[in-house]
């Protein structure tokens, strides 16, 4: 008597698994109606709005957005992340970007630094000078990400050594420490203070020592929908939206 072999997972099934994995992993050109955008963390609220407005006008287009520090996004693109559009906080953030990946780059927004404090302002922070006060809990972005580099430049110009307790991975993580009430102050962008609404209060930094950033929007593929999105952001309506989120013209 022969025992019947169980007919479960044969080699064929494993072949299917391998093929499926390969399909997931291949950086194939995104479908023409899906636009993948990698954007600096500071653009979170503005780009959510911009993409919602854009898809309202272009019902056939699906937007996929991912936010992170510009330094992280550039590394992702250099390592082959499939994206159509890259929007960075400041032009120097694009320096480590593989030049062969760039098809076009356009400045589309400007931003300046601002101090964010909890709305109750428990440490009575009234200006940049206060951030050097001993015992104050100041949170900054990591030195490798644009908001951290800009903050370091501003403190150097002002001749202040900040009482920093943490250098966070991106500007939203930095702001969140103030929103949670764990930090007395954070140096973020003016747009972040605007986007946070009542949760935090902004304390301006004088123009003489402030660091201004020009945000570039970069196309990585020739996808026509991606180009249409970039045109929308750079165009009049996109600029109007960006200004309502606290960005200036580039």
């Amino acid at each position: 008597m022969r025992r019947r072999r169980p007919r479960g997972l044969g080699p064929a099934a494993y072949g299917i698994v391998v093929l499926a994995l390969a399909a997931c992993g291949s950086p194939a050109a995104p479908a023409t109606d899906t636009v993948t955008v990698l954007a600096a963390a500071s653009l979170t609220e503005a780009f959510d709005q911009l993409s919602a407005d854009f898809t309202a006008d272009h019902p056939g287009v699906t937007m996929e957005l991912s936010y992170g520090s510009s330094a992280t996004l550039v590394q992702q693109v250099n390592h082959g992340a499939p994206a159509d559009v890259l929007a960075l906080a400041g032009e120097s953030a694009a320096d480590p970007l593989d030049p062969s990946a760039v098809r076009s780059s356009t400045p589309f927004a400007g931003n300046v630094l601002e101090i964010a404090v909890p709305s109750t302002n428990p440490a009575h922070v009234t200006g940049l000078g206060d951030l050097g006060r001993a015992g104050l809990k100041v949170v900054l972005c990591a030195p490798a990400v644009p908001c951290g580099r800009a903050a370091d430049a501003t403190f150097a110009k002002a001749g202040i050594i900040p009482s920093a307790v943490s250098r966070e991975v991106d500007v939203k993580a930095t702001l969140s420490k103030v929103r949670l009430g764990e930090a007395d102050a954070a140096v973020v962008y003016h747009s972040d203070v605007v986007a946070a609404g009542d949760a935090v209060t902004g304390v301006p930094i004088p123009e003489a020592v402030n660091t201004r950033l020009r945000y570039p929007i970069i196309t990585l593929t020739g996808d026509p929908s991606a180009q249409a999105f970039v045109d929308y952001v750079v165009g009049e309506r996109g600029q109007h939206t960006l200004r309502s989120f606290g960005f200036t013209s580039p």
Binding site: G10, Y14, Q75, K137, V165, S166, R167, E182
Partner: protein, 261 residues
């Protein structure tokens, strides 16, 4: 026929087994091939790496000490009780084991943060935990303690109950019995629990970043330094990763007697 069937069955098991091995080994091998050995000493001497390694050594050792001091008695109670409450406590202990570390970080903030459950009562005394080295130790202890307690509890359960009965007839108290009889006998379990907890503390990332932040020399441990370096100088990140890999292999060596026989 028989041969072909044998071959097929070999392939059915061999192909996935080989794939599993590849999935695990290739990334480690890739890390080693990308290492620039001549740059290694220089990379490790950079101003952020050395303090990060030192901080990791300090905090993980403190965590291991806390596990030993606080975890051993807990393991002792868990090992000798079959009470319903004990079973609940044991289930509770496994939660940090499987919890995403970043969730642990949020939970720690809610407990020890300035406005947290316990933190709000500490703040008036000028005690603030977040962004301090103490926060790093708390985060590491939160994730590492369960490993230690469960390992030691398992070892203690293996003890012959007659030993305790005999010790009692000789007039030994709990503490006396634990110190002179039980602990020397569970020493291998204690050591492996300690090594496991230490290794888990060394790898801690999510809870630390969320709860303690990242500041060189104060809260930026080695894994956080790897993450920070990746955006500035990936080669430094690879060099520190090599060191952490070497340390992990070393810990495995310590555990060898127990699991790798």
């Amino acid at each position: 026929m028989r041969y072909a069937a044998g071959l097929r069955s070999r392939l059915t098991l061999g192909v996935p087994a080989g794939l599993a091995l590849l999935l695990l080994v290739v990334p480690l091998a890739a890390l080693l091939t990308r290492a620039d050995w001549s740059r290694l000493p220089g990379d490790l001497a950079t101003p952020t790496v050395l303090p990060a390694l030192r901080l990791s050594l300090l905090t993980t050792s403190t965590t291991a000490g806390l596990c030993l001091l606080l975890g051993t008695p807990l393991a002792w109670f868990l090992a000798r009780s079959e009470h319903r409450v004990t079973r609940w406590v044991r289930a509770l202990l496994t939660v940090p084991l499987v919890l995403p570390p970043v969730v642990g970080g949020v939970a720690l903030l809610m407990a020890w943060g300035r406005t947290g459950l316990l933190g709000q009562h500490l703040a008036p005394f000028g005690v603030q935990i977040p962004f301090t080295t103490v926060a790093v130790v708390l985060a590491e202890t939160f994730v590492a303690m369960p490993f230690f307690v469960l390992a030691v509890e398992g070892a203690m359960r293996g003890l012959d109950p007659r030993l305790e009965a005999v010790a009692r007839t000789l007039g030994a108290t709990d503490v006396h019995y634990l110190r002179t009889v039980a602990l020397p006998l569970v020493l291998p379990g204690l050591a492996s629990g300690l090594a496991l907890a230490w290794a888990r503390a060394l790898g801690e990332f999510g809870a630390t970043l969320t709860f303690a932040g990242s500041f060189p020399g104060r809260t930026q441990t080695a894994p956080l330094a790897v993450y920070a370096a990746l955006e500035q100088d990936p080669q430094v990140a690879i060099s520190v990763s090599i060191v952490l890999l070497a340390v992990s292999v070393l810990v495995l060596g310590v555990l060898r007697g127990r699991w790798l026989r």
